[in-house]
Amino acid sequence: MYSDYAYLIVALPVLAFVLTIFLGWYLPKGGGFFTVLATFAGFILSLGILSEIYPDNIVIHQSTHWFANFNAGILIDPLAIVMLLMVTFVCTMIHTYALGYMEGDPGMARYFAEAGLFTAAMLGLVYADNLLQLFIFWELVGLCSYLLIGFWYRKPSAASAAKKAFLVTRVGDVMFLAGIVLLYTNMMKLGLPEGTYALQFQTIYDNLVNIPPDQLTWIALLLFGGAVGKSGQFPLHVWLPDAMEGPTTVSAMIHAATMVTAGVYLVARMFPLFYAAPHALTVVALIGAFTALFAATMGIVMFDIKRVLAYSTVSQLGYMMAGLGVGAAVGAGAVGVGMFHLIGHSFFKALLFLCAGSVIHAVGTNDMREMGGVLKSMKWTGLTMLAGSLTLAGFPLTTGFFSKDEIIVTAFEYGEFGNGWLPYIFVIVAALLTAIYTFRLWFLTFDGEPRSDYGKHESPWVMVGPLVILALFALFMGIPAQHAFYDYVGNNFDHYGVDFEELAIVGGHQVVHEAEAHGAEGSHGIFHTIIHILPILFGVGGILIAALFYSRWKRFDSSIITSERDPLRHILLKRYYQNEIYTLWFAEKVVYGLSLLFNMIDLKIVDGAVNKISDILGGFAGTVRKVQTGVIQNYITAIVLGLAVLLILIQLTTMEVAI
């Protein structure tokens, strides 16, 4: 019954967008309640749909012909439904919070209109049933992120951050599109029967084994390129920290519910393809794990509260990618692992961002050096942020603990089965760093003595309410949901009849059976217990280290490890010279130089040729047009002369004939 109205999940936020953008200016709070209600209605619908398809193995598929061999449709399978629930729920919280946070901003109506469209685009992306439709919504998400990051477009830094986000993700999008084209070409070569839609996921899954493996690898890597751009993986992660220029609620949306999760979702959605493609998952695992570590190291030295969170997002996205990537060893179960971290991360990262927004709202600065002791005036915000930080750090029994540890353990199995230890080393070290930077953030902000004279007041209830709800989810979702989630989402592709053993042969993976993995666990019991406990130690250890350096129980000063002249610290503060490499060197020297060259070629050669031709023609015409004097008498003379010549000629010819 609910599934008949599945299209409303996207249609309602779109309607909210239309209403808000036209009527919002005349309504209190910019008509934000439209967006909140539409998103919440989407959540209710998603819950209804979940009740219909869970736990039975039902997949809802509605499809209509679009054009040629493309269709438009809705596909709700376990993978999609968890995303739908998460996006609608987290967005409802964020939009509610924004009612308070954006209060008084003259562009409130615009904010809620764009936020509504953003939500709609993400939801449409989630339940698209074919790759083309997914790509369209994918681009729409990119557009909305551009609009929202540049929400305060009068601020030059916001405008340039928006541009940067758009352009950097564009690099990925082009690769994504190329991947789709390549996939389509290969599907066409197979000679599909009449009436099948080439880019429908079902069709793709069914025909994976028929596509040449080297083509599969190219397709997978190109699609992964799209995911790298969208999900802020190395080396296209640079836009994410800059995206902090938008309102904090936008950051929360981008980092938690919409946008960045799209890339991970794409990889999860196309997991059979990645699995069948040789080496593709290895790349995913390495890039993901490297990003996790790389971003975490930068998170440790930042002083802007939102930037720390931004790098933490990049890092956690790396975890998700790594979680999917190590699926080379454990098969489809990796989708469950990666997606569980995605869902859990959405809750606690939305929470952390909203808390940070609440703090910034009250304190009036982003710089943690000017905060300190905020807990005294903001009990609720401080405690909910503590909840978010605990789960991000992987404190035992929180949601983040279950999801992250599972990825780390899976990464270990990945190494154990001879696929390389690098991902495991990266993610385990990143786990330690995560705990350190998270609690450094918390202690610097909420603990100690105030370091500047800032505003001291708790945020209104419309803002604190969502925080509390999100905090509850962040803390307690993991225990009841974990295993059901792994089973439900991990078996997502069973509904399509995807045979992973067959694909493993194509992809050249060593198939690890569930029983075999457990058997191995039994034989090295103690060793595996250590592997399971290690992430806990690292997480708790990181919290302790942060406490020793930054809290009121401070034992050490950071100067004992590092000094102003420390080159490592310098590199981290400079963010690995990314700005120098990407902007100053690559953008301003290489790209700008090439642009100048091309500009020259365009002006001198292309335009030159065209101009020359038109000059010649123009000169010729300038001479010839003198004939058209505009004096009628000249024309008459010409006519008479012509007539006379004609007459004489006729006379002569007829005479010849007569002769």
Binding site: R625, K626, Q628, T629, G630, I632, Q633, I636, T637, V640
Partner: protein, 100 residues
């Protein structure tokens, strides 16, 4: 009866005079007059041949032609009057606003 060749000669002479005037004159009214002479030479031809054929069609044509000439003269002089009001002259060489 006057021989046909005289009519044709008269018509040719008038046509040549008219054409000469059309080619050489610059005054608007003179040009109009030349056009009238051209038309009338054609009319003479029409009437003369019609009388000799004998066939009345030529005379009917001539009548039409006279009516047309009257209309043409009316429009032409109206244009010339307007031009004179605008430019203060009807020397056509001076009226070249739309020329390149």
């Amino acid at each position: 009866m006057v021989p046909l060749v005289l009519y044709v000669l008269l018509a040719s002479a008038m046509f040549t005079i008219g054409l000469y005037g059309l080619l050489t004159q610059r005054n608007g009214i003179k040009l109009m007059m030349c056009v009238e002479i051209l038309l009338n030479s054609a009319n003479i031809n029409l009437v003369a041949f019609s009388t000799y054929l004998p066939n009345e069609n030529g005379q009917v044509f001539a009548l039409f032609s006279i009516a047309l000439a009257a209309a043409e003269a009316g429009v032409g002089f109206a244009i010339l009057i307007t031009l004179y009001r605008l430019y203060g002259t009807i020397e056509l060489d001076n009226i070249n606003a739309l020329r390149w």
